[in-house]
């Protein structure tokens, strides 16, 4: 088994860091940098383990970009075309929470919201929490569209971690059995 995280390639880290530090990223450069990161990780971290017959667990996938970049105003079809080089996952699971739960959990974290995480670059609100709420509402709406479009399996993420894990494991087992059969 191999785990790959969003936004973790060494190659792109420098540019992303510079851009984020200076708040210099536009929705388009944000989108392209993340696609570059994904392409780099697909080459080094996703395709080789797949070829070796391993399971790749991806913490976020292209769908994150579909939701987030479009919420920032990038063209919906353009970003889908951009990621057409991505390997289609055998199973994609979406952990869904309503916007209120999302905001609550975020506030409970008691850490300062990051500029881009809160969508502050869009200038919708100068209040980070309010900005996050506006941004995240748009992101969630995009996910709902993606769920239908790409047959994502939905897990209700309001429940306890134990409960979510039970549902998640059932989905994964079912999928693996189907692949074996």
């Amino acid at each position: 088994m191999f785990v790959t995280d969003w936004n973790s390639s060494v190659l792109v880290k420098a540019a992303t860091k510079t851009g984020k530090k200076k708040n210099a990223l536009t929705p388009m450069t944000f989108s392209l940098l993340h696609a570059t990161d994904f392409a780099d990780r697909q080459l080094y971290n996703i395709i080789p383990p797949l070829k070796a017959g391993m399971i790749v667990l991806a913490d976020r996938y292209a769908y994150t970009a579909f939701a987030r970049d479009v919420a920032r105003g990038v063209d919906r079809q353009w970003v889908r075309d951009l990621y057409s080089f991505a390997v289609r996952p055998n199973l994609a699971v979406y952990f869904r929470v309503p916007i209120e739960v999302s905001v609550e959990r975020l506030l409970a974290r008691r850490v300062k919201l990051k500029f881009y995480e809160a969508g502050m670059d869009m200038g919708w609100s100068t209040n980070p929490t309010e900005s996050f709420r506006i941004f995240q509402t748009k992101v969630l709406a995009e996910y709902d569209r993606i769920v239908d479009e790409h047959d994502l399996m939905v897990v209700d993420a309001r429940g306890s971690i134990t409960e979510q894990q039970r549902v998640f494991r059932a989905l994964v087992s079912e999928n693996l059995e189907k692949l074996r059969g």
């Binding site: 060494v10 190659l11 792109v12 420098a14 540019a15 510079t18 851009g19 210099a24 990223l25 536009t26 929705p27 388009m28 450069t29 392209l32 940098l33 696609a35 570059t36 392409a39 780099d40 080459l43 920032r72 105003g73 990038v74 063209d75 079809q77 353009w78 075309d81 951009l82 057409s84 080089f85």
Partner: protein
């Protein structure tokens, strides 16, 4: 189709209105009220683009136009990453293409569009065609790369300085010698840098030739003298500007 039917009438835009996006564009940015013009100079390494652009800039500024230059991989955001990637051998063809696209997007939004809004002439040292040619040689899907650059703005004029691989090789050797990337050594076609250069540049030239009709390049013989080429550029640009606009007073 006769040769007369192609380039000049259609302009440098492949059927797209100059000053508008090729494809889906940047929905969050308006291109209304952009009186400036984009003039792109294309051509392979060492053909003399930068010299021509420097001379054009002087000429245009004397005539009262506001001018900015924008060049490939010159965005402050991406330049260090691209340099790093080039020096560390970790690039594959896809990350190569995407890093260039990111550099272009940064310059488009931060330099080119603001200049167009202020009524400037943007002199582009290479444009998206360089990216398409390099991707084409590396067998990147041609439709994919065109859609990727759908956010780019179609230039008002594209000049292609055309040269053959042999003349080019001599010129590059005289100037600074052949570099790893100019020789396309990443394509691993062999260890001989001269042979690799010629093979790679020939392939690039084929890609440019194929785009010439598609995007309405104005082709100029790159083997001519610097002065000859400059005269021809000035003649064609002068005609174009006379038709479309008097020198605009750049807005602050």
């Amino acid at each position: 189709m006769s040769p007369d039917d192609i380039a000049p009438d259609r302009g440098a835009h492949g059927g797209v209105t100059p000053g508008r996006s090729f494809g889906h564009g940047l929905p969050y940015l308006s291109l209304e009220d952009c009186p400036g013009k984009i003039i792109a100079i294309e051509g392979t390494d060492g053909v003399g683009r930068s010299t021509q652009i420097r001379l054009l800039r002087e000429w245009l500024e004397v005539r009262g136009y506001g001018v900015i230059e924008t060049g490939w991989t010159r965005s402050p955001l991406m330049q260090p990453t691209i340099e790093l990637a080039k020096s560390s051998n970790t690039l594959n063809k896809l990350t190569f293409v995407l890093l260039y696209a990111c550099d272009f997007a940064d310059r488009l939004e931060k330099e080119i569009i603001p200049a167009l809004k202020a009524g400037f002439i943007v002199l582009a040292d290479r444009y998206i065609y360089t990216a398409i040619a390099r991707a084409g040689v590396r067998s990147v899907d041609s439709q994919w790369i065109r859609r990727l650059y759908g956010f780019a703005i179609a230039p008002h004029l594209v000049f292609y300085l055309k040269i053959d691989a042999d003349a080019l090789a001599r010129r590059v050797l005289e100037a600074s010698g052949i570099s790893y990337w100019e020789a396309g050594m990443d394509m691993k076609s062999g260890d001989d840098i001269y042979d690799s250069f010629r093979t790679y540049q020939r392939q690039l030239l084929r890609e440019y030739a194929a785009m010439s009709d598609e995007f309405g390049f104005r082709v100029i013989d790159g083997r001519k003298s610097i002065k000859n080429i400059q005269d021809e550029l000035r003649r064609q640009i002068g005609e174009f500007l006379e038709e479309t606009s008097a020198p605009a007073t750049p807005r602050a």
